[in-house]
Amino acid sequence: MFQLSIIKDTLPILPAAFALPPEQALISAINKKYANRVLHEVGLCIAVFDLVEAGEGKVRYGDGCLWYKVTFRMVVFRPFASEVILAKVKSSDEEGIRLTLGFFDDMYIPLAYLPQPAAFDPNERAHFWLPEAATEDGSAPSTHELLDSPTTSRMYIDKGEVLRVRVEIDEFYDDEPGPPKATEGVRVEREQRRAPYTVTCSIAEQGLGPVAWWKSAEPAAEGEDKDQG
């Protein structure tokens, strides 16, 4: 889920930092610029791993900074497709489940990636899985039937629970606030700002979902393969 990315940049060091050793000043300048930021098609930057190469600091006309050309390795959060990771449930709604890792929380499980048959319980504000309901003739029961089921047989996915999820796709959005769009003289409302980096996950597979579900599971469970992905 973490990787090293090699990045090259030109950075200024303010005169106030001239007293520090150059490596140290550079690393903190890089961290200041990149840490906790999403780089398009790269991932979420965490921290500098090390410097690969740095040139001499040069003074430009116009400011008192030393400008360094520097190549460095960055620790980046970017889970690869099909990677299995652990995440906590941040919230649930009709559209799916939102997950959080603490430092990153644009992770979603859409309805299609929930184990079937599943439904959203508006009273509990949580999704639940009803393994028994699927057995009869293979046809998916309606949401109505699912919500009529006895509460005791439901397997809830509660807020704060730790889920084992598989990363399906990740998407980057680079929404620039361009000029206001207008079609036929009418101003078009801009759609809401999207998160720059979102990860879509799945729990529709044996072994995925709340860690507690599978804690004492026997290897026998593997036969019935309810794989949705």
Partner: protein, 214 residues
């Protein structure tokens, strides 16, 4: 800014945690020294010099992501508390004969599956590829985890303090671990792969800097 190689190698959670803990302890040490210097200066009646203020403005973003990531990685649902440099190195060696892909090995190290279900999720077509040898893999994983560490750390959990209690390994061992896990060949290949583009033909800053060189 230019991305030379977006994925030059993969890191295990354990390595990332070590790096972050090192940063964290560095930061704590710095803050302490800065405070001490400040106090001394105040006591001796000298005006506060600029040196301390540089240390003070350590990047907010870095601190946030650092603390949150440490929290996530040391959560009690993670196997990391029971892992060690030696354990992981041994585990990776033991996994060699089973023909796992790099990604599978990384996930086995990160998640430390101790039950068959967990391994099924990580490894595709587990039964065809491993058959009876699955138990062996699980026992290798169990062997790599230190049962005492789990007890010790889970009792002192809610992170933060952990960084101070546990000695953080230095970057040398960290680099070693990276190589152990992901194989030396990729490492070398990657370093050779970089093309140093120092021609600096672009306009603006890059151009300015190159002017007197060429």
């Amino acid at each position: 800014m230019e991305v030379v190689n977006p994925r030059s190698s993969l890191l295990s959670n354990y390595e990332v945690l070590n790096l972050l803990r090192e940063l964290e302890s560095d930061h704590l040490a710095k803050t302490k020294t800065a405070l001490r210097i400040k106090k001394e200066e105040e006591a001796s009646g000298k005006p506060v010099t600029g040196a301390t203020t540089i240390e003070d403005e350590i990047c907010e973003n870095l601190r946030t992501v650092e603390v949150e990531a440490i929290q996530y990685l040391t959560g009690d649902f993670q196997p990391i508390a029971a892992q060690s440099d030696a354990g992981i190195t041994k585990l990776v060696q033991n996994l060699e004969p089973y023909g796992f892909t790099k990604a599978e090995k990384l996930q086995i190290v990160n998640l430390a599956p101790t039950e068959p279900v967990e391994l099924y999720v990580i490894v595709e077509e587990l039964e065809d590829r491993l058959g009876e040898r699955m138990e062996e893999v699980l026992s290798h994983v169990r062997a790599s985890l230190d049962p005492d560490a789990v007890v010790a750390v889970s009792s002192t959990q809610p992170s933060g303090g952990v960084a101070e209690n546990q000695p953080t390994s230095n970057s040398a061992t960290e680099a070693e671990a990276t190589i152990e896990v992901y194989g030396e060949e990729t490492w070398m290949q990657d370093t050779n792969y970089i093309e140093w583009d120092d021609s600096g033909e672009g306009a603006g800053i890059e151009g300015d800097l190159e002017m007197d060189d060429e």
